[in-house]
Amino acid sequence: MDLAVTAHELTKRFDDFVAVNGIDLEIRSGETFALLGPNGAGKTSTMRMVSTVSPPTSGSLSILGMDAATHGREIRGRLGVIPQEDQLDADLTVYENLTTYARYFGQSWSEAKQNASELLEFAQLTDRADTRVETMSGGMRRRLTIARALVNSPDLVLLDEPTTGLDPQARQLLWDRLYELKERGVTQLLTTHYMDEAEQLADRLVIMDGGEIVASGTPSSLIAESTTAEVLELRLADEQSLGHDLPFRTEVLRNRVLVYADDGAAALAHIKNLGVEPNSSLIRRSTLEDVFLARTGRQLVD
């Protein structure tokens, strides 16, 4: 099998602080792979190592068949990197942002211009070509950042929290663009702290916490392995509690109680039989959020 990224015992330390603690990764060509984790999990640090911008403290890292320690320039020539924060040239136009960046990848000005027009189409920014970036919305900037990362037709695209801070509509538009990339066979590595984003986009993912990988697999296998098919969410009155001898795993959160059961309706009936009358109840499918909770005892997003 063709691997786009292979990392072994990958470690990043900042002075005494271990940001990434000996993780292993294997990302297959053509797949979309996600690093899901809360703030400070080490996602960005990992991405910066994979983008060959930040040298690992230790461990081995191979990207597109080349050693990251010795072939940085060659590797970066075939990567598209979307950083967590947009770093666009605010004084330049949308179009100039693309053409000047394309030059770094060895394109002639005419190639760069040709590509820029196509990318503007892809990012749905054609009518903004001559707009200065300064004046654009967050969603448009994000799309431009993505377009710019594609100037070199990369084989591997790295997206660090591509949709954080965007409204639902802008988010959906971005997801559509990422699906399209996937259909073109582009390998994608993305980070997110949104479980729905990981479920929507990723073929496989790892869950990171505190610089370590706490779980890995496909979204459905992770859910199947770590949690029940359904979750019953209850809101109880202040003086109520479920007691300790339920036949289900429960998690008590700040304002609700989660009851893990393959059949949520049956669980609710069981609880009502015990004489507990919740203020409200909701039955839903398990998500990666529940996987994270099961593995770490904490919530992904507070």
């Binding site: 911008v53 040298p55 320039r73 950083p83 770093q87 040239d89 330049l92 000047t100 030059r103 990848f105």
Partner: protein
């Protein structure tokens, strides 16, 4: 991260990138890099120059021949040095220009080098414009004058490199006004720009000779006045180049930390 030596093609891409950005701020560049020094030179050369009866101590036919090259190189110092304060901090930190650069095949040393080369080119170009005005004002003295923009470019690079060594380690603009007021402005004024450094107290003259601006002015003045000799000129240029090398080397750690940690 592979290799830290700059690659010419990547350095050139950084230069181009700066050139595209500078087009956007052309008015400021024209004002501070060309119009303002031209006015300074003409005002001093014609204004003060007419009050100076005895120019024999200057070793030039008139005051304009003296102050013209001084203002040209002094301006290059100011422009180069200033560019390494807020603008460099923005490119390195907040605006993230160089953070994008290091995600391409280019490296942090390409970014540093490209920045300095661009400052050299930009100041050489504005010095060409300045030189044209100077030659119109004082008349054609010979081909040596055509080398002065090159000296101005090198001097701008040396000032940019020296200040960049400071800025590359900083996360904010603390101390920038000190560098500007106690570093760059005195260099502009006291490097033999408006009067011979022999008129300064010896201690100050000695310190001034340690910095590149004085050497740039000496060469440019000799070239404009058709009295440049090869060996002394090369020695002056060597001091300027040494400053570029020193500034580059001292900026290295700051750039590496800011861009690749």
């Amino acid at each position: 991260m592979t290799s830290v030596s700059p690659r010419p093609s990547s350095v050139w891409h950084v230069v181009e990138h700066h050139a595209v950005q500078t087009r956007r701020t052309m008015q400021t560049v024209l004002l501070s890099g060309f119009l303002s020094p031209v006015f300074t030179m003409l005002a001093l050369g014609w204004g003060i120059g007419s009050q100076v009866d005895d120019v024999s101590s200057l070793g030039t036919p008139d005051y304009l021949h003296f102050v013209g090259p001084g203002v040209m190189i002094g301006t290059a110092t100011l422009q180069g040095g200033f560019s390494s304060l807020w603008q460099a901090l923005a490119a390195l930190r907040w605006e993230g220009m160089y953070k994008n650069v290091v995600r391409s095949p280019a490296t942090f040393t390409d970014a540093m080098t490209g920045r300095l080369v661009w400052m050299g080119i930009l100041n050489a170009l504005s010095s060409v414009a300045f030189l044209i005005v100077l030659v119109i004002a004082i008349g054609w003295s010979g081909f040596g004058a055509l080398l002065t923009p090159f000296i101005a470019g090198l001097t701008a690079m040396s000032a940019a490199a020296g200040v960049l060594a400071f800025t590359s380690r900083k996360e904010s603009g603390d101390g920038f006004s000190v560098v500007a007021r106690l570093g760059l402005t005195p260099l502009f004024v006291f490097s033999g720009t408006f009067s011979s450094i022999d008129t300064l107290p010896t201690a100050i003259a000695t310190v001034i000779k340690f910095f590149p601006t004085y050497h740039g002015i000496e060469v440019a003045r000799d070239l404009i006045n058709e009295r440049a000799e090869v060996v002394p000129s090369l020695l002056h240029i060597a001091v300027i180049v040494a400053w570029i090398a020193l500034g580059w080397a001292l900026s290295f750690g700051g750039f590496r930390k800011a861009l690749t940690s």
